[in-house]
Symmetry: C2
Subunit: 216 residues, 2 copies
């Protein structure tokens, strides 16, 4: 299988399929149709069949998908059957909230290093970690590499931090800073962007005519 | 125009179109083709034409879209030409990071109330706000309604908080708690889910064979 031919938008949908399939498996379901899976996710059955066709033949016409087999295969394709090491840059309020986030560990994502530039934070214990000086970010990551960098610094310095992460061998960046940043080809970047989520809800509020604020 | 016929996945793509169009407008571009817009966003030109066809006729065959007109129309459709009031529930580390997030205000989203249950946080000043006792959440929102609720409480109590928000007239919820929650029909819900973002990057890391951790 060559990864290059698969559109990134398809890859981005796979974790959502994995989550839905994991719920079905928990409920003891053994088979699911593309129609039912699509119905739960707001995706057409044709889209699901097309997305999965990139990775092989999973379903028999009219028989549906084997939940366990499809789940295991997608998890393996996505690399979710292993553990991933992450470094957090920015250990202020947002960074501390990320360190305390309960959702990473159970899914195999582990923050193994944390960095900040504030003298009051450097050396501070956060769970099993000691916050390191961000001035040593590159050296620290070359000594003990991580897979993913999480960026929780102010927007003004986010690009600079990301450049150091990439120079230090990080191939995937999750950016919480509210600013558009760039990475070179071959490096993955995802943005946590609550504004996009809000903007997809206001459509429905505007349709309702239920605004609490006077129209601007 | 009736909102009911438009698939939610189409609505969810519109803010991404708006962002790309706003960048093009900033660069002084007046016309863009569906091919070019799609190329920037990883969406097929056919998908863009189909998505936009729900809202009227924007482009002339072979002429491309007028950037300014399309941008204004989409912003109006999405309700982005007005101001929206939000209430934040949970003023701990994550809540304080959300209060300090610089991306909301410029896009017309304003946190006008904040709530917590911790005696050490209730009454605390956060910018222009005073943190209110979450015990008064319902009464406070009935007195001064908001459009959107932001939930930044521990997972165990997220559903309970969301139920109160909905009972108090909130029609849109942005949930940061790392747990699946439910809302009744007619209420919009979006989840800030960094794990889904991480899981869409590990595919590429697994293809690279560049894991920093031993395979699990």
């Amino acid at each position: 299988m060559t990864g290059n031919e698969i559109p990134e938008v398809v890859i981005n949908r796979l974790p959502v399929y994995v989550r839905a399939l994991a719920l079905l498996a928990l409920e003891g379901r053994r088979v699911v149709s593309s129609r039912e899976l699509g119905g739960e996710l707001g995706v057409t059955p044709a889209q699901i069949r097309k997305d999965l066709s990139y990775f092989g033949r999973f379903g028999k016409q009219g028989r549906g998908y084997n939940v366990g087999h499809l789940l295991d295969t997608l998890r393996s394709i996505l690399g979710l059957d292993r553990e991933w090491k992450m470094a957090l840059v920015g250990a202020g309020r947002l960074g501390q909230a990320i360190l305390g986030y309960g959702g990473f560990g159970p899914q195999g994502f582990h923050i193994v290093k944390a960095f900040d530039s504030a003298p009051g934070l450097i050396g501070r214990r956060e769970g099993a970690l000691i916050v390191e000086d961000v001035a040593h970010l590159g050296a620290s990551l070359r000594e003990e590499p991580v897979d993913i960098g999480i960026v929780a610094v102010p927007g003004e310095i986010a690009q600079e931090v990301i450049d150091v992460l990439v120079e230090s061998g990080v191939h995937a960046v999750l950016n919480y800073a509210p600013i558009a940043v760039r990475v070179p080809a071959g490096v993955q970047l995802r943005q946590i962007d609550p504004v996009l989520s809000l903007q997809s809800m206001t459509y429905f509020l505007a349709q309702d005519g239920s605004s609490a604020a006077p129209a601007g």
